[in-house]
């Protein structure tokens, strides 16, 4: 009997520990120091905590420095919740953003259905920006969800757009992040907007190595990969067009505090956005991620090769 009682006590203890660990209401992302505002005339550039954001922030910084603006770098801040707070309290003045993702984060209930083209997204975004901030010109470069297939699959079923999937999807397995099962911009939208229903859904990682590898091996025939992922090029994958704009536009654009926006700053950043495309961003990002080059070196190469 005593053994059962012991086990029951242990179970109770374990559950209590588990619950108390989950119960603490502290926001792990919240930071205490509100950060002093930067000195007048200096632009503090921030970035999110992933390679592409840091590269873009470095490109912005060097473009500003080339125009004689003093820049303070405050990179690798964290997720959107965190850096938006930093932008609003003035610890940073500028950072690279994605129009669709930013809109989804700011609009209560997420981006409205039907708003997915770049210009619509930008218009909707401008209405919900936090006070004291604004966005500059958006670039053609997009880092967005795609449906991607291998070269063989594309040839076999002659696939160019998502529409072409409709008659053959019943034989194909799709792999994507687990959230695709429930999100409109996942399986639901594919079925409603394109009438595409796959044979099977494999919950993998969101455009990560698992999905790329599964696509390479043929465990899945269709995968969700982000449009600036260099694995698309290295593996000769084919990105299917999205003529009905299921996936939200994710154009890269600078988000800036109005107080830091001078003509020189805006001019320098708009010149960068004018040159930025999905293709050249992919190439330069691959230099950071695949060739392990230094972000500052790659940013410099981007600017000099584009005459900035």
């Amino acid at each position: 009997m005593s053994r059962i009682r012991l086990a029951a006590t242990a179970a109770g203890l374990a559950t209590a520990l588990l619950l108390s660990a989950c119960g603490s209401g502290d926001d792990p992302l919240a930071s205490d120091d509100s950060g002093a505002s930067s000195a007048p005339g200096t632009v503090t550039v921030g970035s999110a905590n992933f390679a592409e954001s840091e590269l873009l922030a470095e490109i912005y910084s060097q473009a500003l420095e080339a125009k004689g603006v003093t820049v303070k770098r405050q990179f690798n801040i964290g997720a959107r919740e965190l850096y938006l707070k930093a932008l609003q309290d003035g610890s940073i003045d500028l950072l690279p953003e994605y129009n669709g993702a930013l809109l989804s984060a700011l609009q209560t209930g997420g981006a409205p259905e039907g708003v997915s083209k770049p210009e619509d997204v930008l218009a909707a975004l401008k209405k919900v920006l936090p006070a004291g901030t604004e966005v500059l010109d958006q670039s053609a470069a997009e880092d967005k969800d795609t449906l991607t297939v291998s070269q063989e699959t594309a040839t076999k079923y002659s696939l160019k757009t998502i529409d072409d999937l409709k008659p053959v999807a019943g034989q194909l397995v799709i792999g994507a992040g687990p959230e695709w099962q429930e999100r409109y911009q996942g399986l639901k939208g594919l079925e409603e907007l394109y009438g595409v229903k796959f044979k099977e859904f494999k919950p993998l990682d969101a455009g990560g190595p698992l999905t790329v590898n599964a696509l390479k091996k043929g465990d899945i025939q269709v995968g969700n990969i982000f449009s600036t992922d260099s694995s698309i090029k290295t593996n000769n994958f084919v990105v299917l067009d999205d003529p009905r704009n299921l996936y939200l536009a994710e154009n890269i654009l600078p988000l800036i505090r109005t107080s830091a926006k001078t003509d020189a700053v805006a001019g320098a950043l708009n010149a960068v956005s004018a040159k930025l495309t999905t293709e050249n961003l992919t190439t330069y990002l691959a230099q950071v991620q695949v060739d392990k080059k230094d972000t500052a070196t790659v940013a410099k190469a981007f600017l000099s090769e584009n005459g900035l």
Partner: protein, 219 residues
């Protein structure tokens, strides 16, 4: 803390994919298969090494090395090599199961009272009879505790199957994290913890049934 996912009746409908019964069944399936394969491999080897005393360094080193392998890392490696499917998950989980069973089988056999074994031989038992009628029953408490710890580890670790697109209770955690549904993550953690405790209680009871009263001194 939010327990709404756990207590939502819709999530307990056995016919729905992704419901608790559905995931539980898949989870137990991975656990059972890994335990079965692991036992079939580790038990004979452990018994042989323990019985003969030969190659004991294999038992000890394989045990230690196997325990230090991170299951998730091994799983990702297997998926890279073999592609998606049940096989990589089973390999990763079996590697987890083998060390405790192997070492406990070996330890159970080594710690036998040699006088009892001698007595059995003196009574004219054949080697096979010595093994099955004397050595195995006496080694059973140690051996079975190894099996129990293997079962406990694998029931908690089988959640990794969800990381590579399979089912099981890990789905609740991985999917919950992906869609910011912490109630679902919590539900998964609670169900796995309860399952582990229940399974261990069940195996403790099985141990009482199958260990000979002469060995356990409970008459």
């Amino acid at each position: 803390m939010n327990l709404s996912y756990l207590f939502d009746a819709a999530h307990w409908d056995p016919s729905a994919t992704g419901s608790f019964p559905d995931l539980l069944l898949a989870h137990l399936g991975y656990v059972a298969l890994a335990l079965l394969i692991g036992t079939v491999i580790a038990l004979p080897v452990g018994l042989y090494i323990g019985h003969t005393g030969r190659g004991s360094f294999i038992a000890i080193n394989a045990g230690n090395a196997g325990r230090s392998l991170p299951t998730l890392g091994l799983l990702m490696l297997m998926v890279t090599l073999l592609g998606l499917g049940l096989l990589p998950v089973l390999i990763a989980l079996t590697v987890l199961v083998i060390p405790p069973i192997l070492t406990s089988a070996y330890a159970g056999m080594r710690t036998l009272d040699s006088q009892v074994v001698d007595a059995a031989k003196g009574m004219g038992m054949r080697p096979w009879q010595v093994l099955t009628r004397v050595e195995l029953p006496m080694a059973l408490p140690v051996l079975f505790s190894g099996f129990r710890s293997a079962a406990l580890q694998v029931v908690a670790t089988a959640t990794v199957a969800a990381a590579v697109g399979l089912s099981g209770l890990g789905r609740l955690m991985i999917d919950g994290l992906a869609v910011n549904d912490y109630s679902r993550v919590l539900a998964g953690a609670i169900v796995v913890a309860l399952l582990a405790v229940l399974l261990d209680l069940l195996l403790a009871q099985v141990q009482r049934w199958i260990v000979s009263p002469g060995v356990s001194k409970r008459f």
